[in-house]
Every structure is written in C-alpha cells, then in structure tokens.
Symmetry: C2
Subunit: 439 residues, 2 copies
C-alpha cells in the first residue's frame, strides 16, 4: 500500500469515499462497544472462582476474622515478596487497591512530608515527572494535589533518562510516576539500562520518590514475557535505598477491585508510612488476604494462573495488532508497539487526528479511552495518541471495533491531508517515532 | 460495707492486708489475660461463618468481580440506609474500616477544606471538641493532624451541650467526635434532647462537622436496646443538613476488619467527599459488599444476628458488672454505668489511682486498655478512668480478670487513703458523679 502522504488529491478522495462507505456500514450495525478501560473480561474472572471456596479462618495461628496485623498476614507478605523478588519485611499489604496506596502516600507527603522533610503542601511548587504517554489516573493524582506535571518522553527502553537527569536538578521536582513493566499504555518494559539509570538518579530533592506502579508485574501475554530488572537490587549499589515506592496488586490477577494490594519500600520509607497507617486503620482485610494466599500458595501457581489468562487475552491483542498491520501498515499514518503483556495497545496516529478518530468511533458506537487522557492535563500536545484496551470485549466485538478504528484512523488522516493540500500548505511528513512490528 | 473514706487507719491496714493476700493468690495463677481492646470473641465470629458460602458474583445486573461502582452496590447502600433510617442516596460504601473513612475525611479537610472552605492545614489553629471519656483512636486522629483537643464532659445524656454551645463560638473549633449510641467507653446513648441540641448547634465555623461514629448502632445487649433519635431527621429542622458526617460498619457485626463500612452525609458533603474518592480509588470491594448483602438480605436479619451476639456478650458484661457490684459498691471508691450495648464498661475510681491499678493488674498478668487512653493526649486529668473490654476473653478468664481488677481498685484506693492520712492531709471525699446501678 502506498503511503498516504505520497498520494495526490484524487487518490485520497477516491480512497476516502470507499473508507466512508465502510464506515457507514459499521454505523448501520448500531454497535455499542467499549474499549476504554483496562478491565478483565468474564472468562478471566472465571479462572479465580475457586478463591470463593476458602473456608479457613486462621493461618500461622493468626485469627483472620478479627482485628490486628496492620502490615498484613506474614504468608501473603511472603508471597508478594517472592513474586516481586524482595524481602518480605519490605512489603506491607494494603486494601483492595494499589491506587489508594499511591493516593494515600502522596496525601501523606503533602500533609506531613516524607521522612522528616517539609510537607509538600507547605512548598510553593511541587512538580512531578510524567513519562508520556502514561496512565491517566496518575495524572489525576497530580492535578488533584496541585502538583505540576512535566512530560518526559518515553523511548522503547523506558522514559528518557537524559531528560530526567536534567529535570531532577530542580529541587521542586519531587517525584515521578513509572509503570516499569508493560507500561500503560504502550506496553513497554523498561530496559536493564533504564532501571539501572533510575536506581542511580541523584535528584536535588532529598524527598524525591519514584512511584513505581508495578501493575503488570506478572501479566505476560506469552510464556517468556518481558524480564524487568529488579530495581531493589540496584538501589543499594547507589546508596539510593529510599528512592523507590513500589505498588502492586492482584486486581488483574483475581477479581478487579476485590484483590489484595501491597506497597514495597525501604525500611525508612515503611516506617514513615506506618506512622500514618497505624492511625488510619487497625488492619486490612485479612480474610481476603488469606483467601488469596490459599488460592495461590506459591509464585509458580500465580504464574500458571496468569498463563491461563494469557490464553484468553493473547488472541484479543493479536486481533487488534492484525487489524493495525493489515489496515494501517506502510501508510505512514500510524505507529504502534506490540506489547508482550499488560492491558493496552498504544496507537500513535497522524498528529492532529486523534480527537477526530475518537469522535468518528463514538458516532459509530465504539468508545475509546478519552482522547488526550494518556497525557497530563488530558492534553496530548500532538493530538496523536490513542489507547486501546482489548481485554474486556468479546473477540467478535473487539474485531469489529478494531476494524472500525482502522477505518476512522484512515479517514481522519485523509481529511487532514486534504485540508493541508486545500490550504496549499506543503505536506509535513509524519515523522513520529515508529515501532512498527510484525508477527 | 463501710465506705473506705470513713475507715480509720487500722481498719484500712487490715483490709489492705487481706486484699494483698488475695492479690498474691491471683499473681500465683500466672494469668495472661487481655481486656484492652473491643474485639469480638470467637463465638461471635462463628455466627457469621455462612457468609463464606457466598458464590454469586452479580446482583442487579452488576458484575461484582470487576471494577466500577465507586459509591457501592445499590443493594448494600439500601440495606445500610434502612438500618440507619436514612435515604440510600446519602450512603456511600467504603472499604473494611469506618476508621479509615474518618481519617480520610479529616485528611481531606486538612488538605482541601470542607465544601469550599479554607483547608484546615492553612489555618493557624484547628480545634476539635472531644467528649470525655472517649475513644482513643479519635484522639489519635487529632494528635496526628495537629488538631488541638478540648475536653467536653460526658453526662448520662451525652456530652454537655452547654459547654459545647460555649466552645463553638470560637471559629477555630472545627469539629467534634461523637459515639452517639453506647458511647465508647461508657456505653451511654445520647438522649433525644442531646441529639436535638446537637442537630441545632450553630457553630461560628461554617465548616464545623460532627464526626458521628455510629459504631454500635445495632449492638444491643438485650432485645429492646437503647433507642437513638435519628439526627438526620432533626438536622433539616435547623437548616443544618451539612453538620453531621456519620460512619458505621459491620466490623463488629460480621468479621472484625473484614466487614463493610459506610459514610452517611448530606448531598453537599457527599459531593465533596466524592471529589476525593474518585481520585483515590476506582471502586471498593463489591464482592465483600455482595457477601454481606446476601448474608443479611434485610434489617430484621441483622437485628436477629445481633441478638445471637448478645446471648454471647450479655453474660460477659453481667460478669463484670456483678464483680463491680459485689466488690466495689457502697465503698465510695468507684462508680460505673451499666450499658445496654456496645463493647465497654467504663469504671471511674478514686482520683489518682487509675495508673496504679493498671500497674497492679499488669503485674498480675491482666492487660487493661492503657490508663489515660480514654482522654485526649492520653492524659486523664483525674487519673481515674478505666476502660474494661469484656467481649474477647472467655468468661472464666474474664471472671478472674474482673475479680483481680476489683481487688486492685481497692488496694490502690487504700494506698491513696493511707498516703493522705500519713501526710496528715484531711481526706478529700470522693465526690465524682455516680451512676451506680444494680440488677
């Protein structure tokens, strides 16, 4: 297929007409599809049903039906520690949501400061680095707390370290969000070099923290999966033990919203966190912790369980990627990354076209993640990024949605190109970074 | 029995000797008993075991295993609304802990202010009214957030309203903690007049809030129980809809720490809370909400369930009250209130003796709630109040502990009186308020 940018006006108009016909056919189907959020599908959830068989109430002589055990059951702390290859003493179990763990951590930093440093709310300015594209709920934290966000471009090895090293010279830069494995939305796993460089950061602010959201730590789409270097092994080499606050949860392992979350950090950081935690609660839901421990027992079983999920998810990811390959490859109007895990596919289309694609899709009954949401303040400076969440819809619906999306991406691109031609402006070649991959 | 204060030195010395002998006999038993916290006992927890039979995943077409539903399942919101006699739209379901709901509410007030008012952290001084004796975890909130606590004396109808009305003229007074039914530790239920007066408060601070911790809303020790007037019916009569933030939970109904909590407030207040909540989490544990809804289905079943708990708890309360009656009545060294529900018995002993009693008990292997903990800053100005938590220990152990406690109270009183006599100081008669009750 010829690159759109190399087509003349007539070629574009002809192509547009046929695409618009296909679009109208989809519209006639009266679709109602949702690809907006990273939700597990019913078949994935069904894999965890036997977690509900748990009838026990004690483990290691601990009565799980009663108060107590602020840090969580030793057995589930140990299981998370083994999964994430850290010391169990560096793990504290939270409630059902790692999001809440992050929120509460930042709220504590705002009100009380981190490890004896000045509360962030008492500072004139607090800034966070945000690898982009990224996770909208991280950005929502920053907006909520009045933290200024600074975009850091992602590379295919993780966030641009040079940019980070420059920005952290500013001591009002207090933190950074990372999704180090299968990043949201691109599905990029940080390279060993990136992890080592992050572990070696030397920020001006002593209370700078990397909020390391390991949401997809074991969420591989194939047996090998990506291997993320363990940052907790790297931190001590740089005397940087306190730099990283990691969170994880079983929300996308067992039941979304009814799982078990955890926070992993240095002794100093956990001591700091516990000062708040012991005031905020008596204990978390030990019955749910026990339920999860009994369901898995060990890391091998977690991995086997996730492979069963991969059997469900992989065809969905393949379906979308196939459409992208078949409909968009070599047209110089879109690029994407083929992830080996996680919950999303990130599609970069011709700048200035993403909102139009969102609109076209919505008018045809397909809801995408809000366009712009993958950037701070909901503002994609290029209006180019689209996040696709293939997990939830059944594959026949997903197939339609992906097909429609590809049609809309092409229509929007042609509209843009025709508009440029009409305005007698020379065509700016679409030269965004490109991670086209084929099977 | 003669009042201790009317005994001469010889009489006191003789009595002391026999009490000390009994004390030594207890010490020889090498007891290890804990009456420190309001924890349900195993038999109470056993009553909820069939909650673990729940295998369903949907209700009202809502998939409970997946994300979504920030405010909680409609069915469980409705159940709490019926139980607490409020509109279900005024109920938001939280996680497992009402303590966390209160903490998060105050944290939000500190950082963001309440309903558009100035954040408390930006004010020079924030004060809270604390009915005393009261719940140590409420006081811990205030200390944690740097909120100055002002003691408000309890009467047998609830906190002293005259004192409150005077104190709330100060606009730095931003809130008050209440446990309106079966108050912690006294077990006093606020009278209708008190509830009406609270609903009619006219504080100088527009962002003054009553944190209404309805922890024992359905925790009656006998069939009739105390009847608490519904403050939400009274608030509109005074155009005071936004004054009260109520919390409750099933922690002492089903499994402690694995229950379902809720927050009840006006639309204005809930809108304010939701601004934070939607950033802090995606949804709470709907599976646990469903589990609880299915276990109870309706208010009648909750009440019936609590009556089964009362059958277990009432003899424990009776046991302690009987010891108090038999060992301490008419000696003018102690007073107590006989609660009709809740989790505690509050014992006021001769001023200056509580710490000594705590020490004597501990040395004999019985742990009481930390002496002083029932007052802000852990400082009981009279060193007089002891909180007894009879729920957890088996009744034979509880019996020993209550017996020992009564011996220690008498020893400490005699020590005090002898000390006073030795110092040739005229005896100050113990004239604290008195709620002696008999069966």
């Amino acid at each position: 297929m010829k690159a759109f940018t190399k087509m003349n006006k007539d070629e574009l108009l002809t192509l547009k007409k046929s695409l618009e016909q296909r679009y109208q056919e989809f519209k006639a189907l009266d679709l109602k599809l949702d690809m907006s959020r990273g939700k597990p599908c019913g078949e994935q959830l069904d894999l965890s049903m036997s977690i509900l068989d748990m009838k026990e109430c004690t483990i290691d002589n601990i009565e799980c039906r009663n108060y107590g055990g602020l840090e969580g059951l030793p057995s589930i702390r140990r299981l998370f520690a083994q999964l994430l290859e850290v010391d169990e003493n560096n793990v504290i179990i939270g409630g059902t949501s790692s999001l809440t763990l992050m929120y509460d951590y930042i709220a504590q930093a705002m009100l009380f400061g981190i490890c004896g440093n000045k509360p962030w709310s008492k500072l004139e300015k607090v800034k966070f680095l945000c690898p982009v594209p990224g996770y909208d709920r991280h950005f929502a934290f920053c907006e909520h707390f009045g933290i200024e966000m600074i975009n850091v471009p992602m590379t295919d090895n993780g966030p641009n370290i040079k940019v980070i090293n420059e920005l952290i010279k500013d001591d009002s830069v207090k933190g950074m969000f990372c999704v180090p494995k299968y990043s949201n939305p691109q599905g990029i796993t940080y390279s060993d070099e990136t992890v080592k460089a992050l572990a070696a950061l030397n920020p001006a602010a002593k209370d700078f923290r990397i909020i390391y959201d390991n949401a997809y730590c074991v969420h591989d789409l194939d047996k090998q999966g990506d291997k993320l270097l363990n940052i907790f092994d790297e931190l001590p080499k740089n005397n940087n033990e306190d730099l990283v606050i990691m969170v994880a949860s079983t929300s996308k392992i067992t039941f979304a919203g009814s799982g078990v979350s955890c926070i992993i950090a240095s002794g100093n950081n956990l001591d700091d966190i516990k000062k708040r935690l012991k005031i905020q609660s008596i204990s978390q839901d030990k019955m749910n912790q026990l339920r999860h421990f009994k369901f898995f027992e060990n890391v091998e079983n977690i991995k086997a369980h996730m492979q069963k999920q991969a059997v469900i998810l992989k065809p969905k990811f393949d379906c979308v990627i196939n459409y992208l390959n078949n409909e968009l490859a070599n047209k110089e109007i879109a690029s994407w990354y083929v992830p080996h895990g996680g919950y999303f596919i990130s599609l970069d289309i011709m700048p200035g076209c993403a909102k139009r694609v969102g609109q076209l899709c919505e008018e045809a009954g397909v809801v995408l993640t809000t366009i712009g949401a993958t950037f701070p303040y909901g503002k994609d400076p290029q209006d180019s990024n689209i996040r696709i969440a293939p997990s939830y819809p059944p594959i026949d619906e997903l197939s339609k949605a992906a097909n429609l999306l590809c049609i809309c991406v092409q229509i929007a691109a042609i509209e843009k190109l025709l508009n440029l031609k009409n305005n007698l402006i020379s065509i700016v070649f679409f030269t965004n970074y490109y991670y086209l991959s084929f099977f």
